[in-house]
C-alpha cells in the first residue's frame, strides 16, 4: 500500500466520525510526508491545522492509522512544503531566468510552455453534435494530415460554442502524437501585442522568425485583427510564408471572413481559400450529452431528470450550460443535498427566470451599430448617401423597430429627423435582405448579441 492509498483510507475512516465542515477545513491539503516501521509524519498546510490535529484529532488519527497499519506507534505533524520549492529557494535566489519572466510580466503572460495550449482541451472530451460535426471532422483531419488536408482551416461561430476547445484540441493532439512539432497558439490580441512589443523594441526580425519557424499556427478570435492594419500586414506575410511551406494554419472567428469589417481583401480571400466550417448552437441532445460528460468528469451524481431540466432551459451557450451545472454542484456539495429535480429548479430559478433581454435604447443601438461598422454616430445621423454609411444606418433603423418596437416617426427623428417613410423603407429593405443574404443575417445576429451583453 502506498502512502497515498494509506492516507486515503485513513481519511475515509475519519470522515465518518467528524462533521463535514470540520473534515474539509482540517484535512484539506494534508498528506503523508514520510513513513517508516513505527512512525508516520503527516504534512499539513499551515500552523492552525497543525495545532488542531495535534491537540484535537490526534487520537482519532492514530487509531485510524493503526487500524490499517498496526505497527505504527507514533504520528507527528509538520507544516508541509514540497521538497522541490525549498531547494529552489535556496539555490537560485538570483537567477537570470527569473529576470526574464519579470520583464514579460507586463504582457500578462505567465505561461512557460511555448505552445500556450491548455492541456484540458482535447478531442477526447469534445462532444460532437449536429451543430459542430463538420468543424469537428475538419479539425480531426487537420490534426492527422498537417498542412495538407485543409489549409487554412477557418472555424466560426458565436460565443461559448466550443471554438477554442476545438482549436486547442488540434494543438494538443498534434503534440501528443509528435512532441517535437512546433505548435503556436495565440489569440489575435496576443499576436498584436507581441508585434507591438517587437516594433517598440526594434526587434521585428526575431518576431518574424518565431512565427515563421513553426509547424502549425493557431490564432483564436481573428476578428480582432479588424482595423489593425500593420498587424494585418504582418500577419499576411506570416500567413504566406507558412502557407508556401505547407505549414498548417487554423483560425477562428465569431463570424465568417466575409462579415469581418475592415479586413483587407487579400487576407479575406486567403481565409476563404481553405476550409470554412461553422459551429452552431448545440441541439437538445448535444446539450444533454455535454452535461452528462461534465457531470461524469467531476464525479458528481445527478439524476437524468435534473440534467434534462438544465439542458431544456439553457439553450444558447455551452459556457452557460457548464456554469449552471457548476452552480448546482457547488450548492449541493455545500449543503450536502441530492440534486433532484426540485432542488435543481430551485437553484437555477434566478438564472433561468432572468429576462433574457435587457431593455435597450435607441442611443445604445446607434452606438453599437456605429462601433460594429466603425462609422461615427454623427455620420449615421447626418445627410450622407455613401453606401458604407447607408447600410449601417438602415440596420440601426431596423433594429430600433425590431428590438425596441419604436414607431416609425420616432425612429426617423432619432436618425437626424428623417421622414417616417425613410424608416419604413429601411425596415422593409433589411427584412428582405435578411432572408436572402446570410452575411447580413449573421451581422445582425452579432449586433444583437452585443446589444444585450
Amino acid at each position: 500500500m502506498t502512502n497515498e492509498q494509506l492516507w486515503q483510507a485513513v481519511l475515509g475512516e475519519l470522515e465518518l466520525s467528524i462533521s463535514k465542515a470540520n473534515f474539509t477545513t482540517w484535512f484539506k491539503n494534508t498528506g503523508v510526508a514520510s513513513k517508516n516501521e513505527d512512525e508516520i509524519i503527516i504534512n499539513v498546510p499551515n500552523g492552525f491545522t497543525k495545532e488542531w490535529l495535534e491537540n484535537k484529532y490526534h487520537k482519532f488519527i492514530l487509531k485510524a492509522i493503526q487500524n490499517i497499519c498496526p505497527t505504527i506507534k507514533k504520528v507527528a505533524y509538520k507544516i508541509g512544503k514540497s521538497q522541490s520549492t525549498t531547494t529552489e529557494k535556496n539555490n537560485s535566489y538570483l537567477n537570470k531566468k527569473d529576470a526574464r519572466n519579470y520583464s514579460t510580466a507586463n504582457e500578462k503572460t505567465y505561461n512557460n510552455t511555448d505552445s500556450f495550449l491548455n492541456p484540458q482541451y482535447t478531442f477526447g472530451n469534445f462532444i460532437v453534435g449536429s451543430n459542430n460535426e463538420l468543424a469537428y471532422a475538419a479539425c480531426l483531419a487537420v490534426s492527422k494530415k498537417l498542412g495538407t488536408a485543409y489549409n487554412p482551416l477557418f472555424i466560426y461561430g458565436g460565443v461559448g460554442l466550443g471554438k477554442t476547445h476545438m482549436l486547442q484540441s488540434i494543438g494538443n493532439e498534434i503534440l501528443r502524437k509528435d512532441p517535437s512539432k512546433k505548435v503556436k497558439y495565440a489569440s489575435s490580441e496576443k499576436f498584436t501585442n507581441e508585434l507591438i512589443n517587437a516594433i517598440s523594441g526594434k526587434n521585428t526580425k526575431a518576431f518574424k522568425e518565431i512565427y515563421r519557424k513553426i509547424d502549425i499556427l493557431i490564432i483564436d478570435d481573428i476578428q480582432f485583427l479588424a482595423g489593425k492594419e500593420k498587424t494585418q500586414e504582418e500577419f499576411f506575410h506570416t500567413f504566406n510564408t507558412l502557407y508556401e511551406n505547407n505549414k498548417q494554419i487554423v483560425l477562428s472567428s465569431d463570424r465568417p471572413p466575409k462579415a469581418i469589417p475592415a479586413l483587407e481583401e487579400r487576407l479575406r480571400s486567403r481565409f476563404e481559400g481553405g476550409m470554412i466550417a461553422d459551429v452552431g448552437s448545440p441541439d437538445y441532445e448535444t446539450r444533454l450529452a455535454i452535461l452528462k460528460a461534465k457531470a461524469r468528469e467531476k464525479n458528481f451524481e445527478i439524476p437524468d431528470e435534473s440534467l434534462n431540466y438544465i439542458a431544456l432551459h439553457i439553450q444558447k451557450n455551452i459556457r452557460e450550460l457548464q456554469g449552471a451545472l457548476n452552480r448546482v454542484i457547488a450548492i449541493c456539495e455545500l449543503d450536502n443535498s441530492y440534486p433532484d429535480i426540485k432542488k435543481t429548479t430551485n437553484i437555477l430559478a434566478n438564472i433561468i427566470s432572468q429576462p433574457i433581454k435587457k431593455a435597450t435604447t435607441p442611443k445604445n443601438i446607434l452606438k453599437i451599430v456605429s462601433d460594429f461598422y466603425d462609422v461615427p454616430i454623427d455620420n449615421l445621423i447626418k445627410k450622407n448617401r455613401r453606401k458604407e454609411i447607408v447600410k449601417p444606418r438602415q440596420i440601426a433603423m431596423y433594429l430600433m423597430r425590431t428590438e425596441i418596437k419604436s414607431s416609425f416617426p420616432s425612429i426617423g427623428s432619432w436618425i437626424g429627423g428623417r421622414d417616417h417613410t425613410t424608416a419604413m423603407h429601411a425596415y422593409e429593405k433589411i427584412s428582405r435582405e435578411i432572408e436572402n443574404d446570410k452575411v447580413i443575417e449573421q451581422e445582425i445576429h452579432l449586433i444583437i448579441e452585443r446589444l444585450y451583453n
Binding site: 463535514k20 465542515a21 470540520n22 474539509t24 477545513t25 499551515n46 500552523g47 492552525f48 491545522t49 497543525k50 495545532e51 488542531w52 491537540n55 484535537k56 507544516i79 512544503k81 520549492t85 529552489e88 529557494k89 535556496n90 537560485s92 535566489y93 538570483l94 537567477n95 527569473d98 529576470a99 519572466n101 519579470y102 520583464s103 510580466a105 507586463n106 505567465y110 507591438i196 517598440s200 523594441g201
Partner: protein
Amino acid sequence: MKFICTQENLNKALNIVGRITNKNSTLPILNNVLLKTEKGQLKLSSTNLEIGVNYLVGGKTEENGEITVPTKLFANFVSNLPNGNVEIKLREDVLNIKCNGYKTNIKGLDAKEYPLAPKLEADSIFKIKSADFKKALTQISPAISSSESRVEITGVFMNLSELNKNKIMLVATDSYRLAEKSIDLEKDNINKEFKNILGNINSVIIPKDTVQELMRSLDESEEMLEITISENQILFNFGSASIISRLIEGKYPNYKQIIPDKFELQVIINKNEIIKGIRVASLFSNVSNNSIELKLLAGSKNIEISSETSDLGNNNTKIPAENINKSLDILYNHKFLMDGFNSLDGDEVFLQLNNETLPTVLTSAVDKGFIYVIMPTRA
C-alpha cells in the same frame, strides 16, 4: 467567567481583533471571537486560519472562563455602549454584558471548538519602532499586487539578507510599479543570534491581508514591534497585541535588475504641485489605459501634464520644475503615478527617467531609503 473593564479598552480591542475577514465559510465558528481570561486579563482572539490576532485587555478578573461569540454582533454592540465600565459574565453558553443601563445576553459557542492559534517557539529576530514599520508599510502597500495568478507578489517581500549591516528591505510590486523601502535598525534591537535562528531563511513574503491588518493595528508610537520568523510563519508582537500569520511560499521576482542605475534626466519638482496636476489630468485620462502624459522640454522651467479624452475634452497643466536637460514625452497610468508621489516624504522630489519605455524612478530629498519605480504605459 466574570470580567470587568472599560468600554474604551474593550472597543479598541474589538476594533483590532474583529476586522479579520473570514474567507472560510465551511467552519462557522470562524465568524466568532474567542474571549478567555488569562493572567488577570481578558484575551480576545480571532482567526481566519491564515492569520491569527490576539489582544489582551486589562481589567479585573473575578472568575476565569472562556467562550466564543459572534464577532460582528459583539463588536457592534460594544461600540454602541456608553463610556464606563463593562461587566461581562458567562452563564453556561450565554454571555451577559452589563454597562450603565444596558443589559444584553449573547449566545455563544463552546471555546473548545475554536481553532488553536499556532505557536512560534523561536526567539525574535529584531525590534523596530511601531511608527517606523507602519510608515514603511503605508508607503509601499499601494504597490502590492492583487492578482491571483502570481501569488508570490501578493504580499510584501521582506529581505533579511542585510541584517548583518543592520538593515532590512521591504518591497512590493504588481509588475507595473514597485516600491522599495530600506530601513536601518539599531544594532541593539537585532538579536545577536539571528543567523542561527533564521538558518537559511534570508527573506519572507508577508501576505497582503496581514500587511493591512498590521497597518490598522499598529499605533504611531514609540512602542517597539517585535518580529519573530520561522520557515512558514511570522509573528508580530506589539503592546497588548500579537499577530501571527502564514507566509507566502514562492520565490519573489528578482526585481533589482529592472531598476535603472543611471538616469539621463533628474527633474526636481514640488510634490504637492505635481499631485494637484495629476489629479486634474486624471479627470481626462485615456479611458482604455488610464494614461496621462508628461511633456518635458529641454531647457524649460516647466513640466507639462496633459490628458485628453475625445468624448470629454482635454486638460493641460504646467508645473514648475528644474533641471530638464532633455526633451521627452512620456505616458503613465495616473493612479500609479499618484500613488508614487503620495508615498514620498517631503516637498522636494525627484523624477528620474531615461526614455519613454524604461522604468521611471521617484525619490525624495529627505527620505533616501524609499524609491518608487513605475513603468510608463505604451501609447
